[in-house]
């Protein structure tokens, strides 16, 4: 009796094991590799707590299975990541094989990044699938310094159902944004007009320079070409701050006007909170980094899900729509142990492959810098924002000059983040704040020896 039971149990276990193996083979997101990428080695990556690296954390175990090695993924907040990368650059040998670089950081990091052209040529790597602006954003002095992983723009999202209800125009310009926001704030119970980054410091500082871009102006005296500014070769003479200008004043006025149609707590609102408040129906429009749209698009309870349309940053008078491109690239520090450089490149190739970019979208990263992935139906279904970004890229509505890739970009952001917060809190007139910011930044540039 007992042995019959045991045999039954063994048979059941065997069947269960076989079924599990089959299920794993068919359902796991295994991306076939002809040969193991890591071959039992360990790769050391330092990344940021942004959707793409958070996605990697979610299926880290499977990634290690796919690569046949160990992936040490060190995910840090923005400021800590920057400090770590800069300190690591001073080591004789890098502690990391791959580092995450934000688009405007290339100017600061370029002295200690590996030129990837050697690897690109040797492996015949094809970058043509990436959006032009994303691919060229990592080119400095003719060298490709990074491979796009999660470059995405800050765009504008609005509730189509609410706009239809009140018969409002799509918010393509500042004027239309403010008009719609006033109507909605007055008439829609419990809903404010616009959510945006108004928290003191980096959040507001970035808002200011990106919104200055809506008026066609850059924060430093860069060379203009058409509607855009040249980023690849910024000279010391181009480092003069351009804050106390007409565009600066117009931006400050726009931010003050936004305050009247913003939700409660706006003075402390930053990246995630603005998206969550929008996702919960607290405001009808929001500025948003495209990749974060998954927060409400993949939340069945959100009233914004399926009721959101996406636009480039609304523009100021007489300016074309331009959304700021930012987000993350993978790069190799030039103090890497030479024996590990090839392994790092192979891993970057794999991490930025179309299959992996598609995989990240399943885990809350609604970004695709690759045109081929942007056309996949299941990706579009998960992340409706992706074809919109693709469209903006084709129309030339994405640019990176709003946050110039110079070492002082964070100083510019910090100074503006403090000065403008006094303006929007009503503690300082905008003229005085702009003048103070201009003179502070001027002193910083002189101190850095630019002029």
């Amino acid at each position: 009796m007992n042995s019959a039971k045991g045999a039954k149990r063994r048979k059941f276990r065997t069947s269960a094991l076989a079924a599990t193996c089959l299920a794993t083979a068919f359902s796991a997101p295994v991306i076939a590799q002809e040969e193991s990428i890591l071959g039992g080695e360990t790769i050391r990556i330092i990344g940021i707590g942004d959707p793409v690296f958070q996605a990697m954390q979610k299926f880290h175990g499977e990634m290690e299975e796919m690569t046949g090695g160990t992936i040490q993924l060190d995910v840090r907040p923005f400021d800590v990541l920057r400090q770590q990368v800069l300190l690591n650059a001073q080591n004789s040998t890098s502690s990391y094989d791959i580092i995450a670089v934000d688009l405007p950081q290339f100017g600061e990091y370029k002295p200690f990044l590996t030129d990837l052209d050697g690897f690109i040529d040797a492996t015949g790597y094809d970058g043509s699938d990436f959006h032009d602006v994303a691919w060229s954003g990592a080119q400095f002095g003719g060298a490709q310094l990074g491979i796009p992983l999660q470059p995405h723009p800050e765009i504008f999202a609005y509730r189509t159902d609410i706009f239809e209800k009140y018969g409002l125009d799509a918010p393509t310009t500042h004027e239309k944004v403010l008009a719609a926001a006033r109507t909605i704030s007055e008439q829609e119970d419990g809903m404010s007009g616009v959510c945006w980054n108004a928290a003191r410091g980096t959040a507001l500082g970035q808002t200011f320079i990106m919104d200055m871009g809506d008026f066609g102006a850059a924060p430093i005296d860069m060379v203009k070409e058409g509607d855009d500014y040249l980023m690849g070769d910024i000279q010391p003479a181009n480092m003069k701050p351009m804050i106390d200008t007409e565009a600066g004043k117009a931006t400050a006025d726009y931010l003050q006007a936004l305050m009247e149609v913003s939700p409660p707590g706006i003075l402390n609102m930053a990246w995630d909170e603005r998206v969550r408040v929008y996702g919960q129906g607290g405001c009808a429009m929001t500025y948003i980094w495209a990749g974060r749209s998954a927060i409400f698009e993949q939340d069945e309870a959100s009233p914004a899900r399926g009721n959101t349309a996406y636009l480039p940053h609304p523009s100021g008078p007489d300016s074309p729509p331009k959304s700021t491109l930012g987000g993350w690239y993978l790069a190799i520090p030039n103090n890497i142990d030479p024996d590990r450089a090839e392994l790092a490149w192979k891993t970057i190739e794999w991490l930025a492959s179309p299959e992996m970019i598609e995989e990240y979208t399943k885990y809350g990263n609604c970004v695709s810098p690759r045109s081929s992935v942007s056309k996949i139906d299941s990706v579009i279904e998960r992340c409706p924002v992706i074809p919109h970004v693709e469209d903006m890229s084709i129309k030339g509505e994405l640019a990176g000059w709003q946050r110039p890739p110079v070492p002082e970009v964070q100083i510019i952001v910090d100074v503006l983040g403090a000065e403008m917060h006094q303006v929007i809190s009503g503690e300082k007139p905008s003229e005085e704040a702009l003048s103070d910011a201009q003179s502070q930044l001027d002193r910083e540039m002189r101190k850095a020896g630019y002029y």
Binding site: D79, R82, Q83, L86, L87, E108, P111, A199, R200, G201, T202, P263, P264, G265, I266, L267, N268, E273, V277, G282, P407, E408, Q410, I411, D414, A418, H421, Q422, S425, E427, K428, D436, S439, Q440, R443, K447, A448, G449
Partner: protein
């Protein structure tokens, strides 16, 4: 003679590890901070550090309104937080000193906030006071009141940070004063009562003077701690709105670790060390002064 030399040598050998450790951990960082403060030293610049003399200090005094504002905000924070903590802590210590049932358990429980990480305390208060998601505003609206901008109004934001600090550190003040109360000799009070002093006179003329050293010690510790406070500001307000809650350590942090201007941040840190040392010295002399 040779014996005393031998004793001195032994004493030097025994003391030297502690002195070396003190030099390495306390004195060297201060000297190094002064050295950095005399340089243009930016981690984000490809240029090597260059000597700047007193340039950074001159910038601080001549041009930097934020620095002066931060000093003022720190002073306001210290006066409000430490002042209220002392009053509350003092009162609670007397309550706990009463011989009542259940107070011992309450005393132990009251120490829990001290054990929490300040960053976690900041996060808890941030979420409680948040205007969109916070439970405090939820209750206010439930009872028909308007939402309050706890973290985005200049005065309320400062008060919110002060309240979070009071919540965490009042138990520490209570503990020190309570320990001092427990150590007071009973016979002094008995003699006072026999001399016909009222309870109020006993408090003002005996208890308070006897507690003076403990009060001054707790004042020094809390004032220095409050001057270094950064976590609550980091999590709750980032120094805003405007610059209403920008305490000096937060400004130093933004200059040193966000703008990576190490020279300038070090100059501010040196000024901060000087201020702390001067204030601490005043208190230490008061403690050491004869009654």
């Amino acid at each position: 003679m040779s014996q005393s030399r031998e004793a001195r040598r032994a004493a030097t050998i025994l003391v030297s590890p502690a002195v070396l450790l003190l030099l390495a951990l306390n004195i060297f960082p201060i000297i190094y901070a002064v050295y950095i403060s005399l340089h243009h030293w930016s981690l984000s610049s490809p240029n090597p550090p260059r000597f700047a003399g007193l340039f950074n200090y001159q910038e601080l005094w001549q041009y930097d309104d934020r620095f002066m504002n931060a000093l003022g905000v720190s002073a306001v924070f210290i006066v409000l937080a430490v002042g209220i903590e002392l009053l509350l802590g003092f009162a609670l210590a007397f309550v706990f000193n009463a011989k009542l049932k259940g107070l011992e358990t309450l005393r132990k429980l009251s120490l829990l906030p001290v054990m929490a990480m300040p960053l976690v305390v900041g996060l808890v208060w941030f979420y409680m006071l948040n205007e969109n998601f916070g439970v405090t505003n939820w209750f206010l609206t439930l009872f028909g009141f308007e939402r309050l901008p706890f973290l985005t109004d200049g005065t309320l934001a400062m008060l919110s940070i002060v309240i979070a600090d009071i919540w965490q550190w009042t138990p520490f003040v209570t503990l020190v004063i309570f320990a001092a109360l427990q150590s007071l000799p009973e016979y002094v009070f008995e003699a006072a009562r026999m001399d016909g002093l009222t309870e109020r006179e006993i408090f003002w003329r005996i208890t308070l003077p006897l507690l003076r050293p403990a009060i001054l010690v707790v004042c020094v510790i809390r004032a220095i701690d409050a001057f270094r406070m950064i976590e609550l500001v980091f999590v709750m307000t980032k120094g805003g709105p405007g610059g209403n809650t920008e305490v000096l350590p937060w400004y130093i942090y933004t200059k040193g670790f966000l703008s990576l201007d190490l020279g300038y941040a070090a100059a501010m840190a040196v000024v901060m060390i000087v201020v702390v040392t001067v204030v601490a010295q005043v208190f230490v002399r008061k403690i050491a002064a004869p009654e």
